[in-house]
Subunit: 427 residues, 2 copies
């Protein structure tokens, strides 16, 4: 099964994968040289670009493999991040889930295949480190973190009255009328409580996600007999299963349907909207970008790429309830809606047994912990972790061999909590 640009999941095979040190993409030499040696060349068509360990190179070089659309930072000077590095963080110890012994923060970064990590405390960078193919000016595929950008934009439009959360998706996108999304409300899309006949089980070669992936391939031509062409055309074919509003079901297509709604309601493609409303307004250092389908539509369910520092700037913007240097960039109401969380009852039905007490709101993951922490999460361990009580934002970019956060959470979530507690004790 070829990996498609949409269904970006690593196939690791049956053996124990290489360690972070062993799988270092620079050391392995993917796509290095003019031209690279034949056995170091990666392709999209055969899926080789997204098999571990090669995916560790590809997550930092998506635009070299796929067409992409820029999310412009504009042309102003970047806003410098203030630094107050704290070398003590490396030694912060914590107990991973299901483990008997402790691990240090520094060890955890190797264990969970971190490519870059940045910790901000009270608005200052206290920790920053890069691994593998990632450097400070590089951008990295954030995958499902993309959804939190889509959800945030929707929450902004809601707060501004441009979107009505009670309206069905078909009100904004008439083409969705015949699909499962047609009678789903904007709110149900935003919180992923739609009832969809759609499987995102990457282990099943007949799962719907593969057809969705084919729809998103950038080199398709109309009439090629390969099914719906483009994200939008695919969304029109999704059928209903069960009822909307009953339970949280994590399905990427909700984020693409929401992206479509946003584009129609705002009159702008999502890449332009994100640039105009956020990326060009808070002193970003680097342009971001989305991968696009053959019709130029950005993949708002998982196709965004950004630099570590710029994701931290975004995280700080959210932690500050939408304010940046005295300006309200995101309506405070929109951020408060995210932080208030969604239905824990709906979430509990979803089968995330490790995430007790969590909820999902506006395409953010709300931990429900004592600190009120909430997250954007990507499938190879990418995260924006915001801890309001600890006044902390952690951004992690990663390329874990297993495409599931269950493989990351045991060594990342308790580590975030331990660093939060450590920082709260500092001056």
């Amino acid at each position: 099964m070829a990996a498609s640009p949409v269904a970006l999941v690593a196939q690791t095979g049956e053996h124990k994968p290489l360690s972070a040190q062993e799988s270092d993409p620079v050391r392995l030499g993917w796509m290095q040289g003019t031209p690279p040696p034949a056995d170091r060349v990666l392709h999209v068509a055969d899926g080789s670009f997204f098999r571990f360990p090669a995916l560790r190179w590809s997550v930092v070089h998506m635009r070299e493999l796929l067409p992409t659309v820029r999310v412009s930072r504009g042309s102003a000077a970047p806003m410098a991040l203030p630094y107050a590095l704290d070398p003590g963080i490396d030694k912060v110890a914590f107990k991973p889930w299901h483990a008997d012994t402790t691990m240090t923060w520094e060890q955890s970064l190797w264990t969970n295949y971190t490519d870059g990590i940045l910790v901000m405390h009270r608005g200052r960078v206290v920790y920053e480190r890069y691994f593998g193919a990632l450097g400070p000016t590089d951008v990295h595929a954030v995958m499902s973190l993309t959804k939190s950008f889509t959800g945030t934009l929707a929450a902004m439009l809601l707060a501004e009255g441009v979107l009505d959360e009670h309206k069905p998706a078909a009100f904004y996108v008439p083409e969705l009328a015949g699909s499962a999304f047609g009678d789903a409300t904007v709110r149900q899309l935003m919180d992923m409580t739609t009832g969809l006949h759609y499987s995102e089980n990457y282990a099943d070669p007949k799962a719907d996600v593969w057809m969705f992936g084919a729809a998103g391939e950038p080199n398709r031509m109309p009439g090629d007999g390969r099914g719906p062409l483009g994200y939008c055309a695919y969304l029109e074919t999704v059928r209903k299963e069960g009822e909307h509003g009953a339970a949280f079901h994590y399905k990427t297509v909700n984020s693409d349907a929401l992206g479509w709604v946003i584009a129609r309601a705002s009159g702008k493609p999502v890449d332009e909207l994100l640039a105009e409303r956020i990326w060009g307004r808070i002193g970003m250092e680097q342009d971001g970008y989305y991968q696009v389908d053959a019709l130029g539509t950005p993949f708002t369910g998982g196709g965004f790429n950004a630099s570590l520092r710029d994701l931290a700037r975004f995280g700080e913007l959210i932690r500050d309830k939408g304010r940046h240097q005295g300006e309200q960039v995101i309506p405070q109401r929109a951020v408060e809606d995210i932080m208030a969380g969604g239905s824990k009852e709906a979430f509990a039905k979803s089968g995330y047994t490790e995430l007790r007490g969590w909820s999902y709101r506006d395409m953010w993951w709300i931990t429900g912990n004592a600190h009120g922490a909430f997250m954007a999460r990507g499938v190879h361990g990418q995260a924006i972790y915001i801890d309001p009580k600890a006044e902390m934002v952690i951004v992690r970019l990663a390329s874990h061999p297993v495409a599931a956060n269950t493989a990351n959470d045991a060594t990342s979530l308790p580590a975030y909590q331990a660093v939060a507690e450590y920082l709260m004790k500092q001056q």
Copy 2:
């Protein structure tokens, strides 16, 4: 014949093309909407993206259609360009070649399908204007202007002793030993005086340029039976015709062979070298980018994209003999070598009957006029025109329906000269 990413030439058909006003890409609505209407969608595979008038959209959106590699500006603040706009320039009149009546500067911009134009005089912007799909923060395909970047990098490495102009290409790239380039010197590549069995006649469907184009297609897979895969593999197949050093023959493959030589001699891919040596050092506003082949090799013969203002910053750098704010970014010797020009005798044999007294040096076009003007030139009218005597730099981005500078020169070259003379009379 499908247009390939390499052989980017417009096919206009037999009728008079739409005017600049009629062909405005925003008005025509290419790729607008989520999703765009079927008859406004452009594809690479069928060549529709590069047929006039659609190419007027595509030249500003190449990355949305093709894989590309960034040329990073870094993360510093851009250097502001000083402004002293002169509205008098619009009324400057000149006589186009072969014409009986005069035309104003402003009229010429419509006549030759200008997308963006910026004039600098003594280091200040005196004129700046955008048309069609281009805005100040957008990047535009510069096509054969790319060659002048390749040539400038080679001239830099020459001045630094990293390259030896007398050495054959095969000294740096052993894989070229069996090709026409094998015994061509670096100097012959730089000045395009190689003797190659290679036709770049876009009107001939059997011209070699089409096979070169196929080699550069980004979605190729090894073993697909379609001939050489990648720019490098193609270059190895080019056969000799006649002798090297005898005459100027404008053939894009020289620039790609030179790009390969540069990459090997410097140990860096050309995109990284350009970023490190120029793009990250003179206060650029926007990242540039190259389109790449299926092996990630940048198209150093014609695949670069940059913003109007950044091209002006580069033009000023060259006019200042490589100095930027007191720092020698390009060795002065390298710029002086460009300005001194190449063999007029070799050039005269090339059949450019309109360009009497011109020469080609380091992949720049040297006019040989009284002002010592020299140019980088792209096939749809893109230009960096540097007039040392008038202390003037003009950058023009364009999307003329005819893929040949003979269609542009009659209304651009005399216009540049007229503005130069106008500015020389100003304080």
